[in-house]
Structure formats: C-alpha cells, structure tokens
Amino acid sequence: MNNPRLILRGKFLLIAATLLLSFLLQPMATAAVSSSIGPLEGPYFKEIRFKIYASSEAEVAGLLSGDVDIMDFFEAEQIPDIQPGLTAGTIETAQSAEQGMWGYSFQCERYPLTLTKFRQAIAHLVDKEKYVREGLQGLGYVIETFIESPGYGPWAATEYVTFEFNPTLAGEILDGIGFVKGSDGKRIDPETGETMRPLTIIARTEHPHRIYAARELAAQMDIVGIPYDLQEVPRSVASPLVFLEQNYDIYTSGWGGGPDVDWLWDIFHSTSPPSQNYQMFKNATVDAALNRLKFGSTYEECLEGAHEAQYLLSEQVPFIPLYAKAYLSPYNARLKNVVDLPWWSGVTNAFTMTFATDKTQKYGSVLNVGWTSDPQQPSPMYEINWWWDSMLNNVIYDSLIQLDPTTFEELPWLAESWTTEPWTPPGGGSGLKLSFNLRDDVTWHDGKPFTAEDVVFTWTYAKEQENPVYISYLKGLQNAETAGTYTAVAYLNTTSFWALHWVGANVPMIPKHIWENIEDSVRYQPIADGNLIGTGPYKFKEYKPGEYVLVEANPKWFLKPADSTLGYTTYTLTQGDTKPFTKKVTVGDDAITNGTYTATVMSAAGATVKTFTGTAAADGTYTVTLDTATINPGTYTVTVEFTAPVTAVGIGSRDDYNLVVEEKPPDYTMYYAGLVVVVVLVAVGYVVMRRRAPGA
C-alpha cells in the first residue's frame, strides 16, 4: 500500500496545475472531487425530509409504502418484515460487515483477572463459530483482532495470537497457575486456599446475541469450575457499573469505530480515562505500541504500531474479540448511486444524501429519511452527538478535508489543497505546520463568504471552549493564523500522522459571525435561533418537533454539478403580499448605518423589474420590504444586496432567491362565514327542538 500522504502531495501539484489551467482557459466551472466511488458532485435532491417515527415497526411500514427511502436503523432480524418490498422489487439493499465488533471486556484490575494466564484460560472457553451460528443466526463474522473488518484494509494485524476453543486446555492452564478444582468441582483460589469468588458477568438485555454470548460463556465456566454471577440487565443498569464504576468482571462489550483507527489508543491506553478504557488495562509495552499508532509521524510507523498493538493485545487478552454482525441496509429502489458506509448506518449517511439521486428524476426529487427519534440538540459544538443530530450536522456542515468513503484517503473539500511542514514549537520539540488553501467560492448558508477567518475561529473557539468532542483533536494546537483571505495555518506540537485528520477532517467549520458571540458553545441551541448555518450541501429549513426536519438543497454548494437545475430558496407570494428582509450590521461594537440595503426583482430574462430600497435603524438593523402589489404573477429572481463603505474594500453581502408571484386565490372568508352560519343554524335548531321536546 502506498503512503497516502505521498499521493496527496502529488495530488496537490496536480490540483494546483489543474486550477491554474482552468483559470486560464475558462471562467471557473464547478469541479467535481474524484474519489474511489467516482466523481463527487451534488446535491441532486431539492429537499431531504427527515420523518420522525415513534416505532420502528411504523418506520418499516413507511419503507414498504414508499414514505421512507432510507432509514436510521435496520437490523438483519427485520428482513422478514420488508420481504414484500424485496419481492416486489420496490426495496433494494446494501449488505456488508459491520465495522465494529462485539466481545468480552475484562476488568483487568480485579483479581484474578489481573492474571494474564487466567484471561487466556477464559479465551479458550469461547466457541466463536457457534456464537455466530446460533447467537447471530449466521448473520455475522468471526473476528480475531480489533480492526479486522474488511473496510480497515491493511490496518488489520496479520499476526496475532488465537485461542482455540478447548475447555480441557483452559482447565490445564488454570491448574498450572494454581487454580485447581476443589472437591465440589469449583476452582480453588491459591491465595486464600478457598473456593474462588464468583466472577460477575454483565450482559445487556437489549441485544439477544449479547445474552446468548454471556450464557454460553457462563456454561463453559461452569464446566471448568469457575464460579460466576451472571447478571442480565438493561443498559440503564449496566452502564453505570461498567462505564462509571468499572464494577464488573466480564462485560459483553460492543465497539463501533470510525475510519481512523487511532481510537484503539482510547480503549486500551493506560492514560485513557476509565470511562473509555473501562478494562482498566495498563501495560507499558502495549502503551508504547499504541503511542506509535496514535502519534507516529508516518503512515508506516502508525501501521507498525497498529499491528504491534494488536499482536500484544491478542496475547494479553484484556478483551476477547468475538464477532462482527452482518448488516443489511434497505433503501427504496428508486434511488441511484447510494453509498454504503460500513462504519456509519449503512446507506443512511451524508454521502448518500448528497451524491445519490432518483433514477427517474436527476434533479429536484425529495429524499425521505426515516428517523426513530427527534434530534436532540443539533449543533456542531454539542458534546453529546446524538446519532440523529450528527446526520443533520453532516449535511449542513463541511470540514476542510473529507475522507474517502472506502479508501479513507483525504479528499479536498473546503480546502482545495494543503501542505504539511515540520515546525518547532516555541518550547522545543517537534511539531507540524499545516496550511490549508481554501476554496474561494464558498459561502455560508446566510450568504456571507467563507474565509480563513472562519477556519481559524473554529479551531481556536473549539479549543478555548474545551469542547468535549473536539478537544482531543485540538489538544496539540499551539497557534492558528490566517495567511491571506483563503489560507488558514495551524501550528501543532505533534507530528502525528493523524494530525491532518484531527484538524482537517474531524472538526466541522462553523461561521465566526454567528458563534463569536456565543459564550457557552455546548449549551447553545442554534436551531432555536435559526442559526444552524454551515456551508454544506443542505440548508436547514424547518423543524417540527415530533414530526420532521426539513433541509433544502444549497444551490451554491461548491460541488454543485454544472447542469444542476436546483434553484435558490423560493418565496411563493400571493400578489399583494409583502416579504420583509432584515439584517443587522455591526463592526465590533459599532452599528453601521450608512450602508444600502436593496432588493432587486429581476425577470427570468434578466431584466430588472423593480428595486426596493431599505431603511436603516440606529442599531444597524436594515429592513427592506418586497411588495408584490405591482408585480404581475410570474416567476422572478430576487437579489438582496447590502453594501457599506466601511473599510477600504467595503463590506457587503448578497443573497439570491426565487420569487413566484401567484394570483390571489379565492378568499377563505366565505368558507369560514359559511361554517359559522352552519354552526349557528345547528345550534338554533337544537335549541328549538329541545324546547319543543317536552310537549311532543
């Protein structure tokens, strides 16, 4: 495998050359980003409707009826429920192996699990094939090491220690370390000379296969004479015991990892917090290997570290990898070009939402996404990234770099190119200087241009706020600065191979003009203020709690196909209606009142139909009102423009909208009047009838 960094260097030169050429030859055409799944450009849908279902049964019904195109969760056990759709050909599926895994975690600080031999003995009690066959009904794969899923490619260890299913051998190992069988068949603890204490096995009830695995293990432990206490409990009971108190011996764990495998460090490094390394595993040799994996400065070093760590972990057994589930991700057959991401929820991901389309309608179709939860607090800065919030964030916000969905290579995104140079931190040591050259054609959803200012702000803001989601990525950030309008530079005190991903791919860009006044980034709910504003392929449109979230295509997105017919926000007004636009302009603390704010209505042919000029208030608020009274019914474009001679170049903004002026519809007053008359008649009739009734 080649070093992607080298490829990138080459790619950079290529891109630079292409850019130069295209600049010379023709006015900027929208360029697609090439990736392993083909050129990336989009979006094709005019709108995504995230529909909230209160039960997964109803969501499946929605998939069958065509109300849902893709859904948030789908378990292989639900396949019979969608069989009618599969048979009729209205539903297609993507299938692959889960990029996570299930296994047993050992609390390595609790005797006798402190003994590696003891843990190895237990590893010989596990019949993984049987677990997949019976526990998963065949819908899964046996896993021997941590990052073995096919998607991880070369990162999977080639050498690791395996433990065959052999209870006799397990018994011999136990005998060997002094845990001999007593007269009652139970093993004797050599330290006390009495029957050993029972080991607490915690299994979470919401997944039947976890219960299966726990019971299987318990049965085998019984055979070799290890006493146990099997606790089958809901997540609410299991979570505090495992994640907060580490009060357990064996736990049926589940892991889902992202594309970057540096997460292995978080799970087993001795300095990782106990809520993550709840195995309480501390081993200096493993730590060293993990450090190379996480902080190695080259791909090779990281790869070596990964392989070494996997080998050592397989030998030390703080965790027994068991299996990964196969999953099946159904989608409406009308969709084309869906992208299946194994570490995400199958086809339901931002790639599909942005790059897939409808077979019969290339542009302007609607994508319906089934959700089984409300979003909680969609925000790029919220500490608890609720699954559904992330889905929303991922189509609204962009990062500088995108990772290729299958090769995990860096793709230019908000940054067209980047350079990595060695840098010496002020205190000495070695570090990196990362320079990102940004696209100059990106605007925020509110019309403001996206610049290096925003990038520097995002990094420093997230770091200052100690945002729990991003702090681990930005810990090494020493300084950040702009170099011109479209170049952002980050100085890091680490030379980790992953550093480019940490600052480039893992932190979504947020607009400075909105977040600079937000004091508590974690508690802020941008959705409440209409401030869910990013640069992404979709713009937030509406959230109706319990019902739906709507996002609409961003017609200005930088990867918009050249032939896209997706337009701007359309205001449909009835002739005679007015539509006000407002905007507040301040520079620092000063309100800017000498600007001009205009709304210009243009016909489809480009002729100016009417221009409205706004007024400014003392606090810098501008209002311009579009009045359709004298505009004939038809379709127009509206440009709302602001300019103010503030600095040498002035400041300004420009927003474009579509305008449809409709003829006055029939007046509903008559309806209501009619309704009132009927109600009154009925009431009067009732009263009259009642009065007569006694005499009748």
Partner: protein
C-alpha cells in the same frame, strides 16, 4: 351550606392525596435502578470531570433530602426541572405536546364514551336480542385486542396497502400552511389512531352502561314513566339514563383524568406527537425529571377528575347533595 362543606371536604382530601402522590413519585424514581448520567456517558465516553458536571447539572450531586425539598418546591411552582435529554424545561416539553394529546385522546374518549353509552343503552333496552349480543361481543373483542397489534394492522391495511391514511404523524411533511387545509390534514392524520382507540375503548363503556341501564330499567319509576305515556326515548334517555349515569360519571371522570397520559402505545404506533409518546420515550431513556413531571400532572388531573366526579355526582344525584 351542606354543599359547601361537601366540596371543602373533598378538596382537602384531594390536596392531601396529591402531596402523598408527589412524595411517592419522588421516592419511586430514586429507587429505580439505573443512572441517567451513565447512559449519556455510555454514548459519548465522557471524562470524569464531564461526568461530574452532568451530575451537578441535574442536581444529582446533592443529598437526597435536598433533592426532595427542591423537587417539591419546584413542582408546586409548576417547574418540573429539565429533561435529561432534550435539556429543555419539562413544562415546555409537555405544553408542546399537550394540544395533540388532548385532540387525539379527547376526541377518541368522547367518541368512545358516546358510542359506548349508546350501544350500552340500546343493548340494555333490547336485552338478549341480536343487537345486544353482537354489540357486547364486539365490545369485549375490542377491549381485549392489544392496541399495538391493532394499530400495526390498521397501518398495514389502510396505510401501506390501501394508502388511504398516512402512516405517521400529526401532519403531513411538510405541514400545509393554509389553516383550513391544516385542519383537514390533522383530521386525516388522526383518523386511524382515533379509530384504533375507539375500538379499544368503547367496549368498556358499553358494558358498564349496559349493566347500569339494566339495573335501572327494572326500577319502579321506569314502569311509572311508561305508564305516564312517555315515549320510549324519553323513558330511556331521560328517566333511565340520568340514573344509570351515576356509575358512569366516575368512569368518565377517570377517563378524562387519564387523558393526559395519552394513549401510550397508540401514540407510539402512529407516531403521534403527544404526551403518551413522551412518556414512552422518557421511560426508554430513563428521563426521570420528565417522568416525574408528567406523572405529577397526571396525578393532579386524576385527583381533580375525581373531585369533579364527586361534584357532578352531587349535581346528578340530589340524595348526595343533601348529605
């Protein structure tokens, strides 16, 4: 005088009941296993200091007694704390969902009471006839069908196969903007859940009504009413019903008391954005403050409904008024 002291006695009893319920409400949720912070920690793998912050945020770091006092004071002020999950004030969460639940469960309750009563009266008036046997069998059947199953069947038949009614929600996606269209849209969406609820509920009312009517119809004053030459309708609906209503009043009042608890499963099957679904979600997520808040409100409603039932009883039955 008599009436006034009757009301006062009932009201005082109601207040005491509510205070006891509030305390139990608090105790039950503290006794339940599980820990909301851990659930969050599980999702994002928090660091210890973040865990501590969450404890502080939810007031879980204080002694139990302080938590209790704070809970009582806040509840009485109409503040039920913040949801662990949405992090919004619970009163707000409840208020958003309240109209939907009142609309759906209110309509279904009124419909099933009216239908149940009419069927019960007719069945009693024609006791033993085909009408009686059919109505009562269907009532029993509906009453014993699991609502989740019934809801899914309705969804699959009328939503997926026939496509007559929507599969989810309170409104279309997106909701229509014209007010008249919105009203029709909501009515269209509530048809199936209302239907499911009525099927489930009417039988109970029909049976109670029937039993009460059969009792009353053997009374002497009913024969007298007939002897007076009153037509059968007046006999049934004026003379018999008014008396047979007495046991119904309590049942109806309780039905309205539990209105706010919504129809947990029905709202869940049909993705109706109401309080029933809120309770369901809160249970799944172990959102104690949300559950505490809503249980408190439901308790108050039930106690109030009981009080109202007592008062209506007094109105309907002059004998009680006197006592």
């Amino acid at each position: 005088m008599g009436l006034l002291s009757y009301v006062a006695k009932r009201a005082a009893f109601a207040v005491v009941t509510i205070l006891i319920i509030m305390t139990m409400n608090f105790v039950i949720f503290r006794m339940m296993p599980g820990n909301p912070v851990a659930m969050i920690a599980d999702m994002v793998r928090l660091r210890p200091e973040q865990v501590a912050r969450l404890y502080e945020l939810f007031g879980l770091d204080k002694p139990l007694w302080d938590q209790y006092v704070q809970y009582m004071v806040q509840s009485l002020r109409g503040f039920y704390g913040y949801s662990y999950y949405s992090q919004r004030p619970i009163a707000e969460d409840i208020m958003v969902r309240l109209p939907n639940t009142l609309l759906l469960v209110g309509t279904a309750t009124v419909l099933s009471i009216v239908i149940g009563m009419v069927i019960g009266i007719l069945a009693a008036a024609r006791r033993g006839s085909l009408v009686d046997v059919t109505a009562i069998s269907f009532g029993f059947l509906g009453n014993s069908v699991p609502v989740f199953w019934l809801g899914l069947i309705l969804l699959l038949v009328f939503g997926v196969d026939l496509k007559w009614f929507p599969i989810r929600g309170t409104t279309s996606v997106p909701a229509p903007t014209d007010p008249l269209a919105l009203v029709l849209d909501i009515m269209w969406h509530m048809t199936l859940p209302t239907f499911a609820l009525v099927i489930i509920l009417f039988g109970g009312y029909a049976l109670i009504m029937r039993a009460a009517m059969i009792d009353v119809l053997t009374e002497d004053y009913i024969q007298l009413a007939r002897a007076k030459g009153l037509d059968e309708r007046t006999v049934l609906y004026k003379h018999a019903l008014r008396n047979a209503m007495l046991p119904m009043v309590t049942v109806i009042a309780l039905a309205f008391g539990f209105l706010l608890s919504g129809a947990l499963l029905t709202e869940t099957v049909f993705s109706w954005y109401g309080l029933g679904r809120y309770i369901w979600d809160a249970i799944l997520k172990q959102d104690y403050p949300a559950l505490q808040g809503i249980f408190f409100i439901i308790s108050v409603m039930v106690v109030a409904a009981n009080l109202i039932a007592d008062l209506v009883y007094g109105f309907l039955d002059p004998r009680i008024r006197q006592e």
